[in-house]
């Protein structure tokens, strides 16, 4: 069902300048519209590189990728309008307030006036940030920063959202709110591409996952299907460890 595919990745290779070893070695996968797709893998597996290529931050060395039918090499601007990105690190201006940060990033997506104000207010309401709107980011806790960081990538109702480990370093309450909201967005038809080290979280949230290691996709499918394929393991984490090994990674 090609019309249902929103992201199409073919033989994607990335070799960073000055490095002999490819960060990703010919990844091929399709992501369907309306999926919550998890990219799982140990450190240095190639998750962030894959997402960065899809977001237009890096060009691939070889291979191709299309988002909503548009080639990522030749349609940077058009693709940037339909994607939302939530980077791994908090990417906000520390001396601006939460509201000012979101206003600026909303403007950069082309939003303004009442529509933007409503979108920001909605984000604050969903994530319980109303009373922190006028607080400078530098004075906010890690959890608040993460939530504002998330809202900044969602203001323009993107068709596809890329989240790079959005729940790292936050408390359980914040994590639950974020994951619930991602489910809510997904129900409205947004495709979510998500990387995480938390297997339990991915197992609950994702409709499909791809386990990546050393630049290759080593397993892909619905978490339940993966568990069925490996009946000797009781959960995704054990499957993950079985596939990727227990060696410590850089």
């Amino acid at each position: 069902m090609p019309g249902n595919i929103i992201i199409e990745i073919r033989e994607l290779v990335k070799i960073y300048k000055g490095s002999d070893e490819p960060a990703i070695k010919g990844i091929t996968l399709d992501i369907n519209r309306g999926e919550i797709f998890g990219l799982l893998g140990p450190n240095g597996a190639g998750k962030t590189t894959t997402i960065s290529i899809l977001c237009g931050l890096f060009n691939p060395t070889k291979g191709s990728a299309r988002i909503d039918g548009m080639d990522i090499r030749s349609n940077h601007d058009a693709i940037k309008r339909i994607i939302g990105v939530v980077p791994q690190d908090v990417a906000l201006y520390p001396t601006l307030t939460a509201w000012e940060n979101l206003t600026f990033f909303g403007n950069m997506y082309g939003l303004r006036g009442r529509i933007l104000r409503e979108k920001i207010a909605e984000g604050f309401s969903v994530f319980g940030l109303e009373k922190h709107a006028d607080k400078k980011i530098s004075n906010c806790s890690g959890g608040i920063k993460r939530r504002v960081n998330l809202i900044a990538g969602l203001l323009h109702d993107p068709k596809v959202i890329f989240l790079d480990e959005p729940t790292v370093g936050i408390d359980v309450q914040s994590r639950v709110v974020i994951l619930d909201y991602l489910n809510e967005l997904n129900r409205k038809g947004t495709t979510v591409i998500y990387t995480s080290h938390y297997m339990e979280e991915a197992e609950k949230l994702c409709t499909r996952v791809a386990i990546i290691d050393r630049g290759n996709v080593i397993s892909m499918g619905n978490p339940r299907e993966l568990l069925a394929e490996h009946p000797e393991f009781k959960d995704l984490e054990n499957i993950f460890l079985h596939l990727t090994g227990k060696d410590l990674r850089d």
Binding site: Y16, S52, D77, A91, L92, T95, F104, Y109
Partner: protein, 433 residues
């Protein structure tokens, strides 16, 4: 366009929130301008008002030359003559030792018999002339050539500035020429008296006949007098303006380090829009900074007894020159901020390059005092273009057409630096890594 204005608003908020940084941006350059103008202007004024540079004078001649040189140095109002130290009369050995040790800057030794040598030389010359008139043919006197010369020794402290040394030597040569001329005049009278006993020498001393009037044509009625204020205030204001490279490149690197620039790269907005917003906001900062320094030159410096800054009457030209100079400074800052990877790189390269451009641009030492090679290089410094433009506006009553070459050069510099930044961004973009 609203993305640009939104980015400008963001930049302004970040700037205003950094109150300490803002104070440094505005107050420090003002302090710098006032102090440097004071050091340069007041330093020389105090020297001329209160002679304080000691000169060791050993007058072995004890005749006219020694007396004239001593009198000349004394009346210059710059030098304080020392002929004895701790009650002990100076000798050439002591003078050499004291200057060599750096205890004194200058030592002058007028050798014994100096005046006699001049007198003899002049006498030979006058005799030749007079006898030549009386006996133009077969006159043995005409073939005599006097090879006598005097060697006045001047010891200089090795640490003394070259320009000061040259000025002192020029003054000394002026005195000796004046003395020689006076002696020629007096010898002529003596010889004429010998030949014509009825000759009565005129009762007048040898006087200079050539005088110099200092006029500074401004092109209009108003006469603007060049002063260190006129040189220093725009010079250091421009220096401070170009120092914007440090905060601005630092803000760009910070934006990259904080990750907000990575987020912007994933948004439908061009890099040009983002950094032009920085240019717009920081240009306002530069213009305010420059105006504050002009005000300091106009109103603060006179409080310290220094001539106030004259800015002429072409206010539109001044505004244009301020904006275009700011753009040149900001283009440079954008290029440094784009190319530098760390704060340390930006700070080290930015500050050193601005100091070099300042020196090359003739802001420390006027271009006309530089050797030809440096003069040629100076014409390539954007700080020189801006400084020349301001000096033209302040002192020469220049019109906008007069400063057009400077404006154009600064705009081209801005375009080149911005292009370098864009090119580097494209080549070194993560997209190509």
């Amino acid at each position: 366009m609203f993305r640009f204005f939104s980015a400008c608003r963001k930049e302004s908020l970040i700037l205003v929130r950094d109150l300490a940084g803002l104070i440094i941006l505005f107050i420090m350059p003002m302090i710098m301008v006032v102090i440097l103008a004071l050091v340069q202007e007041q330093g020389w004024t105090s020297i001329t008002k209160d002679p304080s540079i000691p000169v060791l004078l050993v007058d072995e001649d004890q005749d006219t030359l020694g007396a004239k040189i001593e009198n000349g140095l004394r009346t210059s109002n710059i030098f304080k003559i020392c002929k004895a130290i701790d009650g002990k009369k100076l000798t050439r050995e002591i003078a050499k030792e004291k200057v060599g040790k750096g205890e004194y800057n200058i030592g002058v030794i007028i050798p014994k018999g100096s005046t006699g040598i001049i007198r003899h030389k002049v006498q030979v010359m006058v005799t030749q002339i007079v006898s030549g008139i009386m006996m133009p043919v077969d006159n043995p006197f005409l073939d005599i050539q006097s090879t006598d010369s005097i060697n006045i020794l001047v010891y200089f402290d090795p640490g003394i500035k070259g320009t000061f040394k040259y000025a002192f030597m020029a003054t000394m040569k002026e005195y000796s020429m004046f003395i020689e001329s006076s002696m020629i005049f007096s010898s002529f009278n003596t010889e004429l008296k010998k030949m014509f006993p009825q000759y009565k020498p005129p009762k007048m001393d040898y006087k200079e006949t050539v005088y110099f009037s200092e006029i500074f044509p401004a092109g209009k009625d108003e006469l603007a007098i060049p002063s260190t204020t006129q040189h220093n205030v725009p010079a250091w204001a421009l220096f401070a303006m170009f120092f914007i490279v440090i905060p601005m490149s630092s803000s760009m690197i910070k934006e990259r380090e904080e990750g907000s620039m990575i987020r912007i790269y994933t948004m439908p907005v061009s890099y040009l829009t983002i950094f032009m917003s920085k240019v717009a906001v920081y240009a306002v900062v530069c213009v305010i900074q420059f105006i504050l320094m002009m005000l300091a030159g106009r109103f603060l410096l006179p409080l310290a007894g220094i001539a106030p800054l004259t800015i002429g009457s072409n206010y539109l030209g001044i505004l244009l020159m301020m904006i275009v100079s700011s753009m040149a400074a900001l283009g440079f800052a954008i290029a440094v901020g784009t190319i530098a990877r760390t704060h340390q790189q930006a700070a080290a390269f930015g500050s050193v390059s601005v100091v070099v451009l300042t020196a090359l641009g003739g802001l420390w030492v006027p271009v006309y005092l530089m050797p030809q090679v440096m003069r040629d290089i100076a014409t390539w410094s954007p700080l020189n273009w801006a400084h020349v433009g301001f000096i033209d506006l302040f002192l020469r009553q220049a019109t906008i057409m007069d400063i057009f070459p400077q404006l154009l050069k600064l705009l081209v510099f801005f375009a080149i630096t911005i292009s370098i930044a864009l090119f580097y961004r494209r080549v070194k973009s993560p997209l190509n890594n």
